[in-house]
């Protein structure tokens, strides 16, 4: 696509394939530059999770795309492969409602916990209002999740 390398991966295989891409000596995509999703509303499967990989050693990029159906928006987490995925997957969960199994701490990141819906989905209306949130009692609802 426009001179850029793109690979489509099956959802079931993608974690092993990404681990291989990271570790294979000829590929060595040791950096996950970015992770996001795209909502193709009306298409089946509806979502696409997009990984931008980069190899500092070899100076090449690869974009990996994984199709995710609307009924079961779940992907394996790659946060154990690349630490940058920890926050990026949180953001994708926050904005698209795609869950990442095996993620250590999948919370909303840009929005607040009480936010309803997933704002970057195409069916989330631009001008939708959110209900007011009650004041948080720090003793009853600590900011930190208790260990």
């Amino acid at each position: 696509m426009r001179g850029q390398a793109v690979a489509d991966l099956e959802r079931t295989l993608m974690r092993d394939a990404l681990a291989a891409l990271r570790d294979h000596p000829d590929v060595r995509l040791e950096m996950l530059s970015d992770l996001t999703a795209v909502d193709y509303l009306g298409r089946v499967p509806r979502f696409e999770v997009v990984y931008q990989l980069y190899s500092i050693a070899r100076n090449h990029r690869l974009r990996v795309k994984v199709a995710v159906p609307e009924e079961d928006p779940v992907v394996s987490s790659v946060s154990s492969l690349w630490k940058s995925a920890i926050w990026a997957e949180r953001e994708t969960w926050d904005m698209f409602g795609i869950r990442f199994t095996g993620h250590p701490d999948l919370r909303r990141i840009l929005m607040y916990p009480e936010f309803e819906g997933y704002p970057l989905r195409k069916d989330y209306p631009l001008l939708r209002r959110q209900p007011l949130v009650a004041e948080r009692d720090p003793l009853e609802r600590p900011w930190f999740p208790r260990p």
């Binding site: 530059s33 795209v38 931008q52 500092i56 630490k83 953001e91 701490d105 840009l110 704002p119 930190f144």
Partner: protein
């Protein structure tokens, strides 16, 4: 290492939970640190961002491609031109459009001026927060000279909206070379002063050396780029790795550090400013004459004379403004070197006049993700220096 789980505290010590922020006088930027402290030592920190979330990506899907340029300015408002250039390059890649040579040089000049203002903001604030207020204000003074240049180029200091698809908005002023020469001389003088004030200053060095260290393998895994990664010794700079615009014609070096602590980050940024000034000098010397906008009526607005005097020009203008530029369907990820590191735009077009998806990869978002790792085991006062060196820009980090 699982970042959000807590290290078990010593059984004898009492762990204090403290929230720092979201609006703390010692930290610039709206961000909250949920700390667990043993005395003044940080056991764990949970960084909470999102206070400046403005729905950048959602807003971009509402207008035409041209409507995104003003939003792009407001991502990293310490270096708006770099964001502008990055977005323009991404859309041009998607559209198969190339800006004329003169426009490319102008983008390099503007971008490098912005890079210096970005670094000056970061370093000035870093000095300021450690009590070196004079050095902080000296750097802000230097920034003023550069903002004057930005103003001379595009009429605005901060909200530039200077790039267009296929080029830039206006040409450089006729006396640009002279203005730049004067401004850069001031900046170099001031930076010399700041170097003497800070680089070997006992207090400053003690607060910076060995703080916020991250080994290079971790830095790569966290997706750190820019000065944060180069401070660990990895010479990754998008301008060298994948030269865009006319960076392959420029002679410049990539300063790197060795230990990856705050002092190295500071020195890398400091050295980069000199390299940026070298690039500006070379680009001005090589600046070719010629048009500043590509001649492509599919994407570029016709000149105003044609709009007001010919029906073809008027219709072309109307269609481009009302329907937007019909960028061919497809997707593209274009990385440029922003002030804080790799600034990437992932764009999806469905062939209509509006972006289907605009995703920005903000470099400081990944820096903030790694902040917990950098701070664990350090003192609470070290948050200030480490956070300062990540140079979180709320608009960019929180989208």
């Amino acid at each position: 290492m699982t970042p959000q789980r807590f290290v078990e505290a010593e059984p004898t010590s009492e762990v204090m939970a403290l929230q720092m922020g979201p609006s703390h006088p010692a930290s610039h930027g709206t961000v909250k640190f949920n700390l667990r402290l043993d005395g003044e030592t940080i056991i764990d920190v949970d960084v909470e961002i999102g206070y400046l979330h403005r729905g950048f990506e959602k807003m971009c899907e509402q207008g035409t491609w041209n409507h995104v340029f003003p939003y792009a300015d407001r991502l990293n408002y310490a270096s708006p031109l770099l964001n502008n250039v990055g977005f323009a390059l991404a859309v041009e890649k998607l559209a198969g459009l190339t800006a004329p040579e003169r426009a490319q040089y102008i983008r390099v000049i503007g971008g490098e001026i912005s890079r210096i203002t970005d670094h000056l903001t970061c370093l000035g604030m870093a000095a300021n927060e450690l009590g070196a207020i004079s050095a902080g204000f000296y750097m802000l003074e230097a920034r003023e000279f550069l903002y004057d240049l930005v103003e001379a180029i595009c009429g605005a200091r901060l909200t530039v909206t200077y790039c267009r698809l296929g080029g830039v908005m206006t040409d450089l002023p006729a006396d640009m070379t002279e203005r730049t020469r004067v401004a850069l001389k001031h900046v170099r003088d001031i930076l010399g002063d700041c170097d003497r004030l800070l680089s070997r200053n006992r207090i400053f060095v003690d607060r910076m050396v060995g703080i916020g260290k991250l080994p290079s393998a971790d830095a790569v895994s966290w997706g750190l780029t820019g000065p944060l990664l180069r401070a660990t010794g990895v010479p990754y700079d998008v301008r060298k790795a994948e030269p865009y615009l006319v960076y392959d014609r420029m002679d410049f070096e990539i300063p790197t550090g060795t230990t990856g602590d705050n002092y190295d980050r500071f020195m890398v940024r400091f050295a980069e400013m000199e390299q940026s000034m070298r690039i500006i000098d070379q680009a001005l010397a090589q600046l070719p004459p010629g048009p500043i906008l590509a001649d492509d009526p599919r994407f570029v607005l016709p000149p105003k004379e044609q709009v007001y005097t010919t029906i073809e020009g008027l219709m072309n203008h109307f269609k481009l403004v009302m329907e937007g530029q019909k960028v061919p369907a497809g997707e593209v990820y274009v990385a440029t070197e922003g002030g804080n590191g790799e600034l990437g735009f992932y764009l999806v077009s469905d062939g209509s006049g509006r972006p289907y998806r605009v995703r920005v990869r903000p470099p400081c978002f990944y820096g903030m993700a790694a902040l917990g790792d950098m701070l664990r085991g350090h003192m609470i006062a070290d948050i200030i220096t480490t956070f300062g060196q990540i140079n979180m820009i709320g608009g960019e980090c929180d989208h």
